[in-house]
């Protein structure tokens, strides 16, 4: 790995019983870069995301993360408190099901403020102002700051989850099918928003999606996975315009036909 990668993984392998979910996978991610991991369900892409985020431990291989001071840390050798601290501040995780990620009985403002308070913010007025600012950033009317997410639409919930994740200015965000399960028009708006925020904040993102179009819109680089292996990787446009591997060709052509 080079000196300036943010996240590097080498030779990751993980099996569930007889199923090889990951088989010798390498990953490199540079600061401010969006990397898409694509593949069909069962290809191992979500498992890879969870291993990269320290939520699953691989049978073999290592994941290294460079902290803001430039030190490299082996994720799976870190203590649980250190890893949790990373998840609370330097990292973010956006999952497909916003309802599972948010507190549905807590107001929109409280949801956005939680990460700030977890980091030690103790000024109500400032927390509230920051929450209102972030609601605006994700195109939610700040007047709804005291509303419960229960009454929000699917697209609003996902935008609220993004605000609640980005409010502490993480450097690295993991996204697991962030637009999955939404209507096409809602998806388009959300993708626009994500692209804008990622650019504005200079975020590094590891994005898992089964949707080639989402990868093309957001990611500079792409990895194509099949049965736990990376079959093709490179710049997104190159890989998608001129796929070398038959599986990638199949994925791309199935989108074009659709």
């Amino acid at each position: 790995m080079s000196d300036d990668t943010l996240l590097s993984a080498r030779d990751l392998s993980l099996s569930f019983g007889t199923l090889r979910a990951l088989d010798g996978v390498d990953v490199d991610l540079w600061p401010g870069e969006v990397l898409a991991i694509v593949g069909e369900s069962g290809s191992g892409k979500s498992t890879l995301l969870n291993v990269l985020a320290g939520r699953l431990t691989p049978d073999q291989g290592h994941v290294f993360y460079r902290d803001p001071d430039g030190h490299l840390a082996d994720l799976h050798a870190m203590s649980a408190p250190a890893l949790r601290a990373l998840h609370r501040s330097d990292w973010g995780f956006v999952q497909q099901d916003a309802r599972a990620a948010l507190r549905m009985g807590v107001s929109a403002g409280g949801n956005v403020g939680e990460r700030l308070m977890a980091k030690g913010a103790r000024h109500y007025g400032e927390i509230r102002a920051e929450a209102a600012r972030w609601l605006e950033m994700v195109e939610i009317d700040p007047g709804r700051i005291d509303d419960l997410p229960r009454i929000f639409s699917g697209g609003m919930l996902q935008r609220l989850q993004i605000a609640a994740t980005l409010v502490t200015h993480p450097r690295l965000v993991f996204m697991d099918e962030p637009t999955g399960g939404l209507d096409v028009s809602v998806q388009a708006r959300l993708l626009d928003l994500i692209r804008r925020l990622v650019g504005q904040l200079g975020l590094a993102v590891v994005l898992v999606t089964h949707d080639i179009a989402v990868a093309r819109l957001l990611a500079q680089r792409i990895m194509v996975m099949q049965r736990g292996r990376v079959v093709e990787a490179g710049l997104t446009d190159q890989v998608l315009d001129d796929p070398a591997h038959p599986y990638t060709q199949l994925l791309v052509s199935s989108v074009l036909q659709a």
Binding site: F16, G17, T18, L19
Partner: protein, 365 residues
Amino acid sequence: MAYVAVKGGEKAIDAAHAWLAVERRGDPALPALDLAQIEAQLGRAVDRVMAEGALYDRRLAALAIRQAQGDLVEAAFLLRAFRTTLPRFLASLPLETSAMAIRRRVSAVFKDLPGGQMLGPTTDYTHRLLDFALADPAAALPPAPPEAVPDAARMPRVHDMLGQDGLIEGDGPPTGDEPADLTRQPVSFPASRDLRLQALARGDEGFLLAMGYSTQRGYGGTHPFAGEIRLGEVAVEIAPPELGFAIDIGEITVTECQMVNQFKGSKTVPAQFTRGYGLVFGHNERKAMAMALVDRALRAEELGEEVTAPAQNAEFVLYHCDNVEATGFVEHLKLPHYVDFQSELEAIRRLRATAAAASAEEVVA
């Protein structure tokens, strides 16, 4: 002034206890119940109090029932408070229920089996019609039932028979570890199975019944079959380390239930039946069966099943199955809470004052 506060607490308590003693005794024209009668004629109540009081002593259980005026949860509490003062010497050896002196043994999974089905003293097939003849204490003694000579050796446990073909999970090798004891060490999670079984065996019959029932209605279903229920007397043995061999210290009555539950198998284990286990002091099939259902439901995580229902949630079940804990905490609500209530009163008044001020401003604006 109407302010009398609560002076005189001591006198009030003494007077309350005196009144209670009179109520307990009831009409002095009637003879007092004697403990032998309670033991002999209210045997199922005695069994329940021993199980939930976690102390096998029929005479003390009868005393507790009398002292509690027949309130069985209160009687179990009395027994528990006595039990806690007793020294704890040893854990017994595992009860050998296959060597039980059987009075009743039924299996719902085989029509006939070695040793046969034996109904024993069951209410199962009685019609629940009030028997007015029983109202007369001088009624003639019931005729003796036909003699049955059960032979434990001819009644192998259904599970051992299924186990020979590997169709059901085995007991596993004995660990040799001292079993957990929640009366000495507080429950912690994840809770081992021995600890869970201890909690269930002491647990409230009504709670276990409702939890077991909920698994049958889809909240954590376990596809159960009553593999075998047996009732009878078993020997209790201890092996004091200074002796180096086991000695028999007496006999207790227990009800044992082994549930057979469906299991689809996993990547590493081929499909086989799994088990839920219930064992209760005395004659109490309702509780033994419910316990077996809940025990199996609590194994969901171990068996790779999704944990979604209350009966599968070990924290939920174990923290709430004990009726002595539950009744104490529910009933503590009748203790004075004036201080907390006063602080709530003040808080509500403040909130209302704030709201009233805000709406007044709106009106002015």
